[in-house]
């Protein structure tokens, strides 16, 4: 069983952690094309080499990031998320919504 070093709790069995997917920046959700958005949501780079991944230490609910080499399965380093996310993120107001296709279903309001 692999070991993973949590920046808060130190080295632990990897079963103490939850994998949170590969980290990549979210595109501007208002400007991105449909294609770009779909790639963000559904496509994973799955690169051979060093990737950055989200991990959460379950017992302390602490989220952090890990650099892992997917070829050797070596974890090169782990670090707190504020190394990347160091300021508050805000979103611009949404443009007027486009007229949408009404879903053809019952029970529209409850």
């Amino acid at each position: 069983m692999k070991l993973l070093t949590c920046p808060l709790n130190g080295q632990r069995n990897i079963t103490e952690f939850t994998y949170g997917g590969e980290y990549h920046p979210m595109p501007d959700h208002q400007q991105a094309t449909s294609r770009e958005w779909a790639e963000h949501v559904f496509f994973h780079d799955n690169s051979a080499g060093v990737v950055i991944e989200w991990w959460c230490h379950s017992a302390s609910s602490y989220w952090f990031l890990a650099e892992r080499n997917t070829i050797s399965d070596q974890i090169l380093r782990t670090f707190p998320a504020d190394e990347i996310f160091n300021q508050r993120i805000d979103f611009a107001a949404a443009p007027e919504p486009e007229p949408e296709l009404k879903p053809k279903a019952n029970g529209e309001s409850q």
Binding site: F42, A105, N106
Partner: protein, 975 residues
């Protein structure tokens, strides 16, 4: 029988001659000593036959005496396929042979050997599959014939356990290398674990001959073991098997009934090597044994391996065995040396000087049975004229030498299994027949004969070197690591080609699977040239000993048959476990967490039938299980017409507090929360980034900066983690806490709910105007501080009362007492599911799947349209651009005789599958089955009909109706 045939000490180092032990084998009583294993005790009694082979039912006896072969598999009362040369003897032990019909001595199954030419390699692949369905018939017969032991179905579970252990350095294998490595590593002050699968530390020092006099090994062992025992920071475990190497030196070590989960910072594998058999006609006869097995019998157990012996050797080690045999009073008829011009070491020279009959450049061409047919009687010796080819004498027969034991000493393979599991690579040099192991993980060292060092000085130096690398890596030492020791090729004990084909076959490559030379070669002729394909096609190496004694010979044969080198051919992958382990070792002491609400025992006292939802115990319904449906229906009716009480403590609870609390919820859930008034609850629907519905709850605003958000029982853990993950990125000024377990909660529901609650709640104005539907209040109930939420999951006037966890039982008692005059009744989650279904409320995860977007489940109303951002928002926008592929509808079944559809029953349009049922139940309120189903959009109009394939394939007619089924004007919950 008695013990008086044992050799005198120092032979028999493991046995205690003062402690005789009686046991039975095949219903006959035998006597052995404390320290014996079953096989050694039987050998002491001249009982060599232990088992019948898997396929041809050939007689088999001990081969390695080290628990490394399948020949010694016997039946214990509760343990099939136990290894007789591994299981310690115990008083009264009942041992049986296995895999025979009739008796072990006269196995009727042995007739199969006569038909061996009709059982070619790949037999199972070639036969039995045509015509279709044949396999089921053949399988019964074949499984019976090929069955190994029998399982005791009356087995009483025993207490198996697991335990973690932590070490700086774990040394696996306690031979000369392991002992030396442990001692060197311990000098650093680190905590060292030394593990050996045998009963005694010392490995080969316990039985092999290092010098002419035969005393050096014993003396060295005594010195090293004494040193280890005197070293406080070495923990030695014997009779303990390290059964795998897992990432970052996680070592499962099995000892007795315990699985130790050892985590070592550094591992040094001193696992030694495994002696290989020569391949010749009848090489599987009992009496044909590894030379190390003969040495183990004599030195460990004081058992003479026979009266007259022949030694077949390809190295100098065989001469040591010959000397041991002479010391034990065994007549050594001849040493057959495969080498034409052997280079003798001191031991071999000494052996030759004792006047042994030595035949060089010769092979044992065949072994012959004695008159019993069950044991070796003689060997036939011929000159070697080419690789694997013997001269054919004019008489047609080579020299026959009578003997009852043949000791084979033709080479070793490194015990590469654990190392290869760690990523190590095994390579082979065809010229020297030497192996090398490379590419071990940095925290894993190897030393000793597994690293191809054979001379004792080299082994010890190699071990010390490995230990220094390990302790340097741990920064316990900063020593200069000596140079790698050069492999001394002249010392290679491996003879390149100890394989001699015979016109009559029966030269066994793999004893477990009864595979002969021709089988392996034919596999390559059938087109399976890759070693991995040969294995799967021929089943070579797939038996209980996992190729320990067949991998090398197979690689050699495949290499020759396909004009490659052994190095190019390679060996098959060695996967964990290294040796067979009881399922109990993995299964023993597993943890199945259980969560109980504070009201748990009140449910039991009220006669609840409990079920486990996730880890939580929840009341399914109250009453006897044979009255299940009646009880559930009564509970439903009582809520509809009177008042019921349900424990909802399992509901997730999350505190979201701080200046950005509303902003956070606005981004996280689909609805708008910025303008939510204090004192109000709002439905909270959660989608993931793909716009799929993943959870729901209500967000209760208790102050500007304080929300209490509920989540589903099964979903709250993920919702909480997801909230934290998003806010690690957004960095909003908000605190998020999972307080699920801090609150006990009930839902009191039904037309009389207010009257009951009013009796125990004086500081909240319960009047419908003052405390309307979807209102939230803080106050006290039965004197307990409470959060009261007016929600309507079941579609009636109802209040969720959330109170500190430890007060749950008190609250329950107070409400039951207050409700007595109204005949309040508890209800369980089965009734709750029906009540919510009648009301058309979905359960996320039951009525949704991993693809359900809000539009499909009629939740478009819960999506805010003008928010700057929410998780899943952009994806929902994209989904809105395309027409719906399916949607969820409510349906009723009007045919009272139709079998009620169940979850996942298919919705059909002719032959076409157009959807599935997600919930369906008999509704006591509507008096017919009602349900939810995914259907195609053109099936979704109220009044349209579709077909459900219900239980037993019965087609049931369903009609779409407007949701909800019950109280369409939603007046009941707003009373």
């Amino acid at each position: 029988m008695s013990n008086n045939s044992r050799l005198a000490p120092p032979f028999g180092s493991l046995i205690n001659r003062d402690q005789p032990i009686n046991f039975r084998f095949e219903k006959q009583t035998y006597q052995g000593f404390d320290g014996d294993n079953i096989a050694s005790a039987l050998a002491a009694n001249q009982q060599w036959l232990l088992s019948r082979s898997f396929k041809y039912h050939r007689p088999r006896g001990a081969l390695t005496m080290a628990g490394q072969d399948a020949n010694t598999m016997i039946q214990l009362p509760s343990d099939p396929n136990a290894l007789a040369d591994r299981i310690p003897l115990s008083e009264g032990l009942e041992v049986m042979g296995q895999n025979y019909s009739g008796s072990l001595n006269r196995d009727r199954g042995a007739v199969l050997g006569l038909f061996s030419r009709f059982l070619p390699v790949g037999f199972y692949y070639k036969a039995f599959f045509k015509p279709a369905g044949m396999w089921e018939k053949w399988a019964l017969l074949i499984r019976k014939k090929a069955g190994l032991g029998t399982i005791n179905q009356d087995y009483q579970p025993e207490y198996y356990d697991k335990q973690y252990q932590f070490y700086d350095v774990a040394v696996i294998g306690a031979g000369p290398a392991g002992l030396s490595a442990a001692l060197e590593a311990a000098k650093s002050g680190g905590e060292v674990l030394l593990v050996d699968e045998n009963a005694s530390l010392g490995g080969s020092l316990n039985y092999s001959r290092l010098d002419a006099e035969g005393t050096a090994a014993r003396e060295l062992r005594q010195r090293l073991v004494a040193e280890v025992e005197a070293t406080a920071n070495i923990t030695a475990m014997t009779s303990a098997t390290c059964n795998a190497w897992f990432a970052d030196n996680w070592l499962p070590i099995i000892c007795g009934k315990r699985l130790y989960k050892v985590r070592a910072k550094q591992t040094i594998l001193c696992v030694g090597s495994m002696e290989q058999q020569a391949v010749f006609h009848n090489n599987d006869l009992p009496g044909v044994i590894m030379s190390s097995a003969a040495q183990r019998l004599m030195h460990l157990y004081g058992v003479r391996p026979g009266k007259s012996a022949v030694v077949l050797t390809g190295n100098n080690e065989g001469y040591g065995t010959a000397l041991d045999l002479l010391d034990a009073g065994v007549e050594v008829k001849a040493v057959i040396d495969l080498r034409h011009q052997p280079e003798y070491d001191a031991v071999a020279k000494y052996a030759v000087s004792k006047g042994l009959e030595v035949k060089t450049g010769c092979a044992v061409y065949a072994a012959n049975k004695d008159p019993s047919g069950l044991h070796l009687g003689s060997v036939e010796v011929r000159d070697i004229i080419d690789q694997g080819v013997c001269a054919t004498p004019e008489s047609g027969k080579g020299e026959i030498i009578d003997c009852d034991v043949l000791c084979m000493s033709v080479g070793y393979t490194p015990t590469y299994q654990l190392i290869c599991q760690g990523g190590g690579q095994l390579s082979y040099d065809d010229d020297s027949s030497m192996f090398t192991l490379t590419n071990c993980p940095p925290s894993c060292q190897i030393a000793g004969s597994v690293n191809s060092h054979w001379r004792l000085d080299d082994v010890v130096a190699d071990a010390k070197r490995a230990a220094l690398i390990a302790t340097n890596a741990l920064e316990l030492t900063s020593a200069t690591v000596p140079e790698t020791i050069a492999l001394s090729q002249q010392q290679s004990p491996n003879f390149g080609w100890p394989i001699f084909a015979h016109p009559k076959g029966k030269e066994f490559v793999d004893f477990d699977e009864d595979l002969q030379i021709a089988d392996i070669i034919n596999a390559t002729k059938d087109g399976y040239e890759h070693i991995q394909l040969v294995k799967r096609y021929s089943t070579c190496g797939m038996g209980p000993s996992q190729g320990r004694h067949s991998a090398l010979a197979t690689a050699r044969l495949v290499a020759a048959a396909t004009n490659r080198t052994v190095a190019q051919t390679g060996v098959t992958t060695a996967r964990p476990p290294f040796s067979a382990e009881h399922l109990a070792h993995s299964a023993g002491r597993s943890f199945y967490p259980a969560q109980r609400s504070n009201m748990h025992y009140r449910h039991l006292e009220a006669g609840a039938q409990m079920l486990q939802a996730g880890a939580w115990y929840r009341p399914a319904f109250y009453g006897s299980s044979d009255q299940r449906q009646v009880c559930i229906n009564l509970e439903v009716t009582n809520v509809r017409h009177n008042v019921g009480l349900v424990d909802v403590s399992t509901l997730g609870g999350l505190e979201v507090r701080g200046p950005d609390a509303a902003e956070f919820l606005n981004r996280f859930y689909t609805f708008g929360f910025l303008k939510q008034p204090v004192g109000k609850a709002r439905y909270a629907l959660l989608t993931n980034e793909a716009g799929v519905v993943i959870d729901d709850g209500v967000a209760c605003r208790f102050s500007e900066q304080h929300y209490y958000v509920t989540a589903t029982t099964g979903g709250v853990g993920n919702v909480y983690q997801s909230m934290l993950k998003w806010n690690v990125q957004w960095r909003l000024d908000v605190d998020i806490a999972n307080v699920t377990s801090a609150y006990s909660a009930v839902n009191i529901a039904g037309p009389n709910a207010r009257k009951v609650l009013a009796k125990v709640c004086s500081d909240i104005d319960l009047d419908s105007q003052a405390f309307p539907y979807m209102g939230v209040r803080e106050g006290s109930v039965a004197g307990i501080p409470a959060r009261v939420i007016r929600v309507g999951f079941v579609g009636e006037l109802g209040y969720e009362v959330h109170i500190p966890q430890h007060c749950g039982e008190a609250l329950w008692d107070a409400l039951i007492a207050a409700g007595a005059e109204f005949d309040i009744k508890p209800f369980g989650i089965e009734a709750q599911r029906i009540l919510r279904l009648e009301k058309g409320h979905i359960i996320i995860g039951q009525d949704t799947d991993a693809m359900s977007n809000p539009n499909e489940v009629n939740m478009g109303w819960a999506i805010a349209k003008k928010k700057p951002f929410f998780v899943g928002g952009r994806s929902i926008q994209e989904l809105n651009k395309t027409p719906l592929k399916r949607c969820q509808v409510g349906f009723v079944v009007n045919d009272a005789n139709a079998p009620i559809p169940l979850e996942s029953h298919l919705v059909l349009d002719g032959d076409r599958m157009t959807g599935r049922v997600t919930s369906c139940n008999y509704s006591p309120t509507l008096n017919k089955p009602v349900g939810l189903a995914f259907v195609e959009p053109d099936q979704a109009e109220a009044g349209s009909r579709f077909t459900i394939k219900s239980s037993g394939g019965v087609m049931v007619d369903a009609m779409v109706v407007q949701l909800p089924f019950y109280d369409p004007e939603t007046q009941r919950q707003e009373l």
